[in-house]
C-alpha cells in the first residue's frame, strides 16, 4: 500500500510540473489550524499545531482526488437505503429513562433539576 501511495504522489507532482492540468495542493497553515481548532472548541499547543498542520494537509491532499470525479447530474446520498421523512404518531409514551437518571450522569452540580455550568460570560 505504501508503494501505491508514493506512486500516486509522484504522479501528482509530475502533473503539477509538466501539464496544463491544475492540481491544487491543499496546505493548511498553522493559523488555519488554530482557527479550525477554535471552531471545534479545542485548544492546541504549538507543537500540536505544527503536527496537525502537517497531518491534516496530508489527509486533505489525499482526498483532493475526489475532485477528479465527474458528478454532474449526480444526486448526493445522505440516506443510503432510501428512507425519507420517517414520522410517528405524536403520542405520549413511557420514556425509557427518567430525567433524574439522566441528570445523574452529569459531572457538574445539579440544582433544581438543572445542570449548573460555568458562566457563559
Amino acid at each position: 500500500m505504501r508503494l501505491r501511495l508514493q506512486t500516486r504522489h509522484l504522479l501528482h507532482f509530475f502533473a503539477l510540473g509538466t501539464s496544463s492540468v491544475t492540481i491544487r495542493i491543499v496546505s493548511l497553515t498553522p493559523n488555519q489550524v488554530r482557527h479550525i481548532a477554535k471552531l471545534a472548541r479545542l485548544t492546541l499547543s504549538e507543537k500540536e499545531v505544527e503536527k496537525f498542520s502537517r497531518e491534516l494537509t496530508a489527509i486533505l491532499d489525499y482526498v483532493e482526488k475526489l475532485k477528479e470525479v465527474d458528478t454532474k447530474n449526480v444526486e448526493a446520498t445522505a440516506q443510503v437505503t432510501g428512507l425519507h421523512n420517517i414520522t410517528r404518531t405524536d403520542a405520549i409514551a413511557e420514556r425509557p429513562v427518567t430525567t433524574e437518571a439522566l441528570l445523574n450522569v452529569s459531572p457538574l452540580p445539579i440544582v433544581d433539576q438543572q445542570i449548573e455550568t460555568p458562566s457563559a460570560l
Partner: protein, 494 residues
C-alpha cells in the same frame, strides 16, 4: 474445553442439561483471567453480574432460545444499564459515563437471557483500524502478540478468537468488524445499514455506522443476527424489512449461485498471499457448483477519499455532544480554576479544556478535518462532492448485483500488521479500509471469514458481499465455504 464451544454446541448442551449456564459463564471468566493479561481485549469485567444472570437462567431452566445462557462481550460503545461505557476514551474513562439505559442490541440479548460478561477494547470512539488509539492501550493479536488485532472492534475479535466468550458484538463503520475478524481468524458480520438498531450505541458516523456480530462460525453469526435484527422505533433509520430465520437458510448451499470477483479488489501492492487465498476460495465455490465471474466496480479507487470526507464531517458533528456538561470527565469548575490559578473558567474555556484533555489525537484530527470540510465555502467541494461520489459507488454495487448474487473479495490488503507500524502516518492507516469502507458507503452487508494462513501463521480473511437486505445469500455462501474447509477450526496457541 467448555470455553471453546460455539453457540450452537453450547446451546445443545444447555438444552439437554449437560452443561449449566453458570459453568459455561465461569469457564469464560476463567479463560479471560488466564489469557487477557497479555491480550488486553477486555476493558471492563462484569463478572458478578454475569454469574447472577447465569444463575437466573439456570433457575428458569428454559433454554429454548439459542442464546439463552450464552456468555458474550460487547464492544465498549454499547450502553448497558449500570455498566460503565467509555468508548475507550479519556473523555469517559473513569466511570464518567454509567448509562441509565440499555442499547437496543444489549436489551434484545438480555431479553433472550444471553449473559453479558463485560466490555471489549476498541479504538477511541471506534476511530482507527488497530485498537491502538484506545486509552486502555492496544489489544494484542492472539496469533502473534507483536501484531495488532485490527480495529476498531479489535477487542471483540481477539476475545472471540481467544475463546474468552462465545460471541461478541461490535460496530462497523468502515470495516471495524470485518478487518479485526480477518486479522484474528474469526467470523465478522457487517449488516445492511439499518438492519440492526443503533440506539444506545455511541455514534461515530451516523450515515455509515452498523451493529453486528463476531463469532466462531457462520451459523453462530446467523443466530446472533436473528436475535438483534429488526425495526426499532428508537432508531428511525432501521428498515421496516422482515427478519427471516437465518439459521433455516444456511444449508441451502451455493449450487447455481453466481459469485463475482471485482477486479478493483485485487490490486498491485497488496500481499500476494492474501490474493492467492481469496482466489483459492473462489475455486472452492466453483467446486461446490457456483459460477464465479469477473466483475468491475469502477469507482472503487475513490472510496477511501469519499469515506475520509464523510466520516470526519459526521464525527465533527457527533463529537460536539462531549462538552463536559451532560457527561464527560469529571474535573469540576472549581478544581479547574485552581489548576489554572486564575478566574473561574468561562463556559467556552471549560468546553475547550474538557475536550482538549479528553480526546486523543485521532479524534481531534477527524473533528478538525470535519470542521474544515463542513465550513462555509468548503462544504460543496468536500462533503457534498463526497456524498455524490458515494452515490456513484452505491450505483456500482447496484449494477453488479443485477448480474451476480454475491461478491468475493479480500478483507484487508495484508494480514495483521505490527504494532506501531502506521501510528505516525494517518493516511497509511486509512488505507487499511480500502476493501471494507466501500461496503459501508453502499450500505450493503458483508461477511468476513477465515480463508487461509500466511507463512507467518497469521489468519487471512475473505469477504462475501451481498445486496442491501441480502444477508441470507452471504450467510448461505459463507456457511457452505466453512463446511467445505477447515480454516475456522484453527486456534491460536495461548
Amino acid at each position: 474445553m467448555t470455553f471453546s464451544l460455539t453457540i450452537a454446541q453450547a446451546h445443545e448442551r444447555l438444552k439437554s442439561k449437560k452443561l449449566s449456564a453458570v459453568d459455561l459463564t465461569r469457564a469464560c471468566i476463567e479463560r479471560i483471567e488466564s489469557v487477557d493479561k497479555s491480550l488486553n481485549a477486555v476493558v471492563h469485567r462484569n463478572f458478578d453480574r454475569a454469574l447472577d444472570e447465569a444463575k437466573k437462567a439456570d433457575k428458569k431452566g428454559v433454554f429454548d432460545h439459542p442464546l439463552a445462557g450464552i456468555p458474550y462481550l460487547a464492544k465498549d460503545v454499547f450502553c448497558e444499564e449500570g455498566v460503565p461505557t467509555t468508548a475507550c476514551s479519556n473523555m469517559l474513562r473513569n466511570k464518567d459515563f454509567i448509562p441509565p439505559f440499555d442499547s437496543t442490541t444489549t436489551k434484545r440479548l438480555k431479553e433472550k437471557s444471553a449473559v453479558s460478561l463485560g466490555k471489549t477494547n476498541t479504538d477511541e470512539f471506534t476511530m482507527g483500524a488497530s485498537t491502538e488509539t484506545s486509552c486502555f492501550g492496544v489489544t494484542k493479536n492472539p496469533w502473534d502478540h507483536s501484531r495488532v488485532a485490527g480495529g476498531s472492534s479489535g477487542g471483540s475479535a481477539a476475545a472471540v478468537a481467544a475463546d474468552e466468550c462465545l460471541f461478541a458484538i461490535g460496530t462497523d463503520t468502515g470495516g471495524s468488524i470485518r478487518q479485526p475478524a480477518a486479522f484474528c481468524g474469526c467470523v465478522g458480520l457487517k449488516v445492511t445499514y439499518g438492519r440492526t438498531s443503533r440506539y444506545g450505541v455511541l455514534s461515530m458516523a451516523s450515515s455509515l455506522d452498523s451493529i453486528g456480530a463476531l463469532t466462531k462460525t457462520v451459523e453462530d453469526a446467523a443466530i446472533v443476527l436473528g436475535t438483534i435484527a429488526g425495526k426499532d422505533p428508537l432508531d428511525a433509520t432501521t428498515g421496516d424489512v422482515s427478519v427471516p430465520d437465518y439459521t433455516q437458510i444456511l444449508q441451502k448451499g451455493v449450487k447455481g449461485m453466481k459469485i463475482g470477483l471485482p477486479k478493483e479488489y485485487f490490486v498491485e501492492g497488496m500481499d500476494p498471499q492474501v490474493e492467492a487465498f481469496v482466489r483459492e476460495a473462489a475455486k472452492v465455490f466453483t467446486a461446490m457448483g457456483a459460477k464465479v465471474v469477473d466483475v468491475s466496480l469502477p469507482h472503487s479507487p475513490y472510496a477511501i477519499a469519499t469515506y475520509y470526507v464523510i466520516v470526519p464531517s459526521e464525527v465533527s458533528s457527533n463529537m460536539a455532544r462531549y462538552d463536559g456538561i451532560r457527561y464527560g470527565h469529571t474535573e469540576t469548575n472549581s478544581t479547574l480554576s485552581e489548576v489554572e490559578g486564575r478566574h473561574p473558567l468561562t463556559l467556552i474555556e471549560y468546553y475547550e479544556h474538557v475536550r482538549s484533555s479528553g480526546f486523543g489525537d485521532e479524534v481531534k484530527r477527524r473533528i478538525m478535518i470535519g470542521t474544515y470540510a463542513l465550513s462555509a465555502g468548503y462544504y460543496d467541494a468536500y462533503y457534498r462532492q463526497a456524498q455524490k461520489v458515494r452515490t456513484l459507488i452505491k450505483n456500482d454495487f447496484e449494477e453488479v448485483f443485477k448480474k451476480v448474487d454475491c461478491l468475493l473479495t479480500p478483507v484487508a490488503p495484508t494480514p495483521a500488521f505490527t504494532i506501531g507500524a502506521h501510528t505516525d502516518d494517518p493516511v497509511q492507516m486509512y488505507l487499511e479500509d480500502i476493501f471494507t469502507a466501500p461496503i459501508n458507503l453502499a450500505g450493503i452487508p458483508g461477511l468476513s471469514l477465515p480463508c487461509g494462513f500466511s507463512k507467518d501463521n497469521l489468519p487471512i480473511g475473505m469477504q462475501i458481499l451481498g445486496p442491501q437486505w441480502g444477508e441470507e445469500a452471504i450467510l448461505q455462501a459463507g456457511n457452505a465455504y466453512e463446511k467445505a474447509t477447515e480454516w475456522h477450526t484453527k486456534k491460536p496457541a495461548l
